[in-house]
Symmetry: C2
Subunit: 400 residues, 2 copies
């Protein structure tokens, strides 16, 4: 792939980096900084060290070195718990940022993921967030998760990420804002997510099965489980669609964006990634300094998540195995969220699903974020505070 090509269109505004996927990731980091942890000042300092076309290895080094810098700040014995929490959160997502550019087939991958998990544990401890770690038995192995417990009488939200999330990411998408609003939140790595592929748990054909196991776990944990919602972002818009189609215990579905046909999405939107990049073409691109190394790395990571050796094979898996969700079976109230900076096919599928289900429940809505809202990027990473308000206002109406 060329440097100018993106894996998936995910935003309408360019911030700093030449490559669109990298720039989207920077947009995302700035979004995390509006919830907690690092600031735009830190991120711009690091961006300027990186330059506009950083190599993945440089990105990794710069963010890991920032995590070390933060560790040094944490050595100050006078810090309050509140201050520590912010430093640990900054550290967690600095390591997270480095992981985005580490090859999952490399030896440093898993130890770095573990370092992020340890930092996150210290962050939530310092925040005094009522979080417990859990595992759900699955196919000779397990799915790891966090359960934020506000109270057995509180409504419960299951947060599901996509192809680029770790369960720690689910904390700023829903865990933290849910806690502040009195919700229980389950944050789980499904097969293919987080570091599950290292335990042979790669993307499943049907995410409804592990999600139903999560609901079993919640029922066991909370005998008073009553109001249960699910929220999926990115690929989570497909996983949650599968779950809502099959498990009627889910009483409200939020998706940014709802996806019913993942094969069609890949066909329409992953064009640049599917072009056969021969070794000769890559060598030439590299010679002229135009090889999209970040994209190559990201595609390798996706392949790893699918349990294949390259992205092309992963896509073939999707084309072979992925099922189209029968959205006509969805009965619960739905909040569909769509940014105008999203790719065309994501927007199309969101509208199709909305049109099909809108008459079934008066609460069902399609929330479109135009560019001026600042929330028009993929997963609303450019205005998380706004989407938190939209999501929890809506849930409060459903569960009042």
């Amino acid at each position: 792939m060329k440097e100018s090509e993106v894996i998936l269109k995910r935003q309408s505004t360019r911030l700093f980096f030449k490559n669109g996927d990298t720039d989207f990731f920077f947009n995302w980091l700035l979004g995390i900084g509006e919830v907690f942890g690092f600031s735009h000042g830190e991120l711009y300092y690091l961006a300027q060290r990186l330059g506009k076309s950083p190599k993945p290895s440089t990105w990794k080094k710069v963010f890991l070195s920032h995590a070390d810098y933060l560790a040094q700040k944490l050595g100050n014995p006078d810090l309050s718990k509140q201050s520590k929490a912010q430093y640990y959160l900054a550290q967690t997502y600095s390591i997270r940022s480095a992981i985005q550019f580490i090859n999952p087939f490399s030896e440093e991958y898993l130890p770095t993921v573990q370092r992020m998990e340890e930092s996150f544990k210290k962050a939530t401890y310092s925040l005094k967030a009522p979080i417990e770690e859990l595992t759900i038995h699955y196919q000779e192995s397990y799915l790891p998760g966090y359960y934020l417990h506000s109270g057995d009488d509180c409504p419960t939200l299951i947060m599901i990420g996509g192809g680029d999330t770790y369960r720690e990411d689910l904390f700023y998408f829903a865990g933290y804002p849910g806690w502040k609003r009195g919700y229980n939140v389950l944050m789980i790595d499904l097969p293919g997510q987080g570091s599950n592929p290292s335990r042979e748990l790669t993307f499943d054909v049907n995410a409804a099965t592990p999600i139903s196991l999560c609901i079993d776990w919640l029922e066991n944990k909370n005998p008073k489980l009553n109001h249960l919602a699910i929220y999926g972002v990115s690929g989570g818009g497909y996983f949650t669609a599968q779950a809502v189609e099959q498990d009627t215990r889910i009483q409200a579905w939020i998706a940014s964006t709802p996806i019913y046909d993942i094969a069609e999405l890949f066909k329409k939107e992953f064009g640049s990634s599917l072009k056969t990049s021969s070794w000769l073409m890559n060598a030439i691109l590299k010679l002229v300094g135009n090889l999209n190394e970040s994209a190559d790395l990201n595609l390798q990571k996706y392949a790893w998540q699918f349990g294949t050796t390259d992205f092309k094979k992963a896509i073939d898996e999707v084309f072979k195995g992925a099922k189209v969700v029968n959205y006509h079976k969805v009965q619960c109230p739905c909040l569909f969220i769509m940014g105008e900076g999203e790719s065309a096919e994501l927007q199309r599928q969101a509208k199709v699903v909305y049109e099909a289900v809108k008459s079934k429940n008066s609460h069902t809505r399609l929330q479109i974020f135009e560019a001026e809202s600042g929330a028009d990027a993929h997963c609303q990473v450019n205005n998380l505070r706004l989407v938190h308000n939209v999501v929890f206002d809506w849930l409060n109406t459903i569960f009042e």
Copy 2:
């Protein structure tokens, strides 16, 4: 002035705009967005509409139009109070941003300031912040302020801004974070600040007098007033120095940065602004598209705040009237804050004051923010969450 020249060096990292003062202001807005209100997504959307070298009139139009956009969003009857609060905060500081580029001698200036005040009132009401408006009688007129009341037994912080602040700005510097930590916070426009110059209250030679009146007001309001601190940013580092020199009721002083000789600061750092810009030179700069219109406007605003007709005359006032603070009289514990992106003279004065008083109290500290902290810009606008933690951790130690 040329487009490339700045009034005052206030940051080390360039974000988006060609002119340094404008870029610093954008940095500042991104900082507000990390506390509440608008997001970086909104701000980048507006920045891209503005282009890298916007005219002041365009800046004003774009931000006022964003305030209108937010008003339209606020028309949604289903919004929770929490959602409304964020929209009103976004609106308050969008109007604030427009005001930065409105000529205070123009007819639209005061009505726009009033619009900001109304939006702020609705924001704090929706936030359920325990805030009351107040006025303090001063020289045939009054100083307007907000008092955030957490409880008579709580410690109290007086927040003082500088040459570019309105009392609404003091809310994200100290009001909001102070409220979240159980502090009372007084936010006041001193002479020369906010819209006080429109009531003939221009910059005073001695800010200690109005600040002592604020303390009288606090004593009257809260008979149990016990732990009293003062925090000054930017020019507030000078105003608070004057107050601490003279009023021993102040038990702790925070300054980012402490300034004892304002005339020397102007002499050393406002060089570009003091060069005689003849009409001919300005006409030529305009012809080649290189006139720094924003700086010209800002300098007019400073002149208005000094009660003079141009900035040169204002500076002459400073050189004539401004007193050097005798920092040897300072007895209370001090927290001095200094970013490495600050101008050299601000850094020099901070170090001089620190060296002079550090042995008087074991709590006295000089906190230097290096670039990697993300808090190295003027007033730490690029990492407000961090400076909030540093300030209130320190105050909690003093007042424990």
